[in-house]
């Protein structure tokens, strides 16, 4: 759905994007992660045809986003970071205006359906000027979806919202995934990405430093540490025994929990399991520690 290669963009002498390349397949929920000012919104502006890059190719929905005359030629839905509507129009009027923008005839049914889906049916006849940030954000998602596009760009859809509003927005994005839509979703809230995205691109200072399926990135970043919880506190002799195993580097004890640092990523889980089973030590929890996305992101940022 999206294939970007070598995208560069300057604002005066400042280079906002450096050779950005990324790839989004149909059905992906793509999490585009980066600090504020990393270049996420600039990239989205270019992908949506609202801004031009200095160089690079940018195919969106089979069309070159750098050459289209009108952004709507891309057939996408777009939710800006701070969606702006005509404050003097009601939510319904705003959506109807956007619906008719694509040349479709007045269809109250479609507008009502969207208003209901984003939970604004009861406020549909209120002027948008009186809406809260969360309501505007939900209306923005409705606006992005009003013409039923297959590909949606959501720029920081949950960043400025309270936890309840964030939850609402994430629920709506999950619904989009279930509808089979492709979503390109930028954010600096990594927890949101872990909850809903299947693919991730990390942008640091205008450069893509990592891009892959979330599961692959997480697998690549598994730490060689086992967190083991036992029913009773292990005695010092048992711990010393474990430390003597060839694949073990060190063991730390915290009450009835131990952290076992192993030699390699593949560790020695089988040996550890066998050791506890042979000695009738009841294990209540046994897990290989994974870096969460925040650790991975910070590692990439620090590397830069």
């Amino acid at each position: 759905m999206i294939k970007v290669e070598g995208l560069n963009k300057h604002f005066g002498s400042f280079q906002a994007l450096h050779d950005v390349s990324l790839n989004v397949e149909k059905g992906d929920i793509y999490g585009f992660i980066g600090h504020n000012g990393a270049g996420k919104s600039t990239t989205i502006s270019i992908l949506t045809g609202l801004a031009r890059p200095d160089s690079g190719t940018c195919m969106v929905n089979g069309k070159d986003a750098t050459r289209i005359v009108n952004p709507s030629d891309l057939g996408i839905g777009y939710l800006p970071e701070d969606p702006r509507f005509y404050k003097w129009m009601t939510a319904r009027e705003n959506l109807m205006y956007l619906y008719e923008a694509s040349g479709k005839k007045n269809d109250k049914g479609r507008v009502d359906e969207i208003l209901g889906w984003v939970g604004l049916k009861e406020s549909s006849n209120r002027k948008v000027g009186g809406f809260s940030r969360g309501m505007k954000q939900r209306l923005g998602i409705g606006a992005a979806l009003i013409n039923d596009p297959e590909l949606l760009f959501l720029d920081e859809p949950s960043s400025a919202l309270d936890p309840e509003g964030r939850g609402d927005v994430l629920r709506l994005i999950k619904d989009l995934r279930d509808m089979g839509k492709t979503v390109f979703f930028s954010t600096h809230i990594l927890n949101d990405v872990e909850r809903i995205c299947n693919k991730v691109g990390i942008l640091v200072k205008g450069r893509i430093v990592k891009e892959d399926k979330l599961s692959v990135i997480q697998k690549e970043n598994i730490l060689p540490i086992y967190d083991i919880e036992t029913e009773r506190i292990l005695d010092k002799a048992t711990v010393a025994d474990i430390e003597k195993m060839s694949c073990i580097k060190s063991v730390q004890i915290l009450d009835n929990r131990i952290q076992v640092l192993t030699e390699g990523k593949n560790g020695c889980g089988r040996e550890l399991y066998k050791y506890f089973a042979d000695r009738d030590i009841i294990v209540t929890s046994f897990s290989l520690r994974k870096n969460d996305l925040e650790d991975i992101f910070l590692e990439e940022v620090n590397r830069k």
């Binding site: 609202l50 801004a51 009108n70 839905g77 777009y78 702006r84 509507f85 109807m96 956007l98 923008a101």
Partner: protein, 258 residues
Amino acid sequence: MTSTIKKDFKDGIRNYRFLIIFAGFMFFALLTPVMNKLILPELLKSQFPGMDEATMNSMLVNTQIENIVGYMGDIFEIGMIIVSFTFCGALAMELKEYTLILPVCSGKRYSEIILSKLLVFGIALVAVTTVSILSNYLYSGMLFGFETDGIIPIIKAGLLQGLYMVFILSVLIFLGTLIRNQIVVGLTTLLIAYFSRLIGNLLDINEFTPAGLLTEAEKLTTGSGISVYITVAIVLALTAALTGAAILRLSRTDLTRR
């Protein structure tokens, strides 16, 4: 295009743009005859108690035509300010508030956005200038007696004034694509309007400038010399050029730029 026209019409109503220009123009249309008939003579009497009647009459506006010409002068001087500041945000505000992003992504064409504004607000301006000058004509006729050759010259004057205002609207829209601050757009437009008329008067080339429409309107004639056609053609060409430039400029503007 219909939905954009409907939206701009609602904009005119709900943001009181139509009401402001109508009230502003009607205020001058109705106030000028009253001022000339009732207030000015009293003022002169109180300021110059010993003045004889003949001298006083020579200082006063005593005819319907003088009234209408006076009203048209007011419209150029003050009505222009009303128009400039009522419509200075027509496009500049949309860019400043980023309200064009969603419509453009949903399918609105840049040309549609600009042409709709020119059409809706332009028709409103032509209607208001024509209705106002007709009101001035009727009211000053009631107070001073009717003396023009029917209402055709009045309607012609109103339409010429309206066309001039449409040109001013196109300047406001074009400047709105360059400058996002609506006050600066309004002030720049006023400067262009006043200076172009001043230069037109000084160099005696008014018929080749948009302000020539106002000069022609003030003649209150029914006939149409070749010069008025030249002026109308120039104004239409300038309006079309500014509109085209605005569309081109808007299509090359990064609507998301902060």
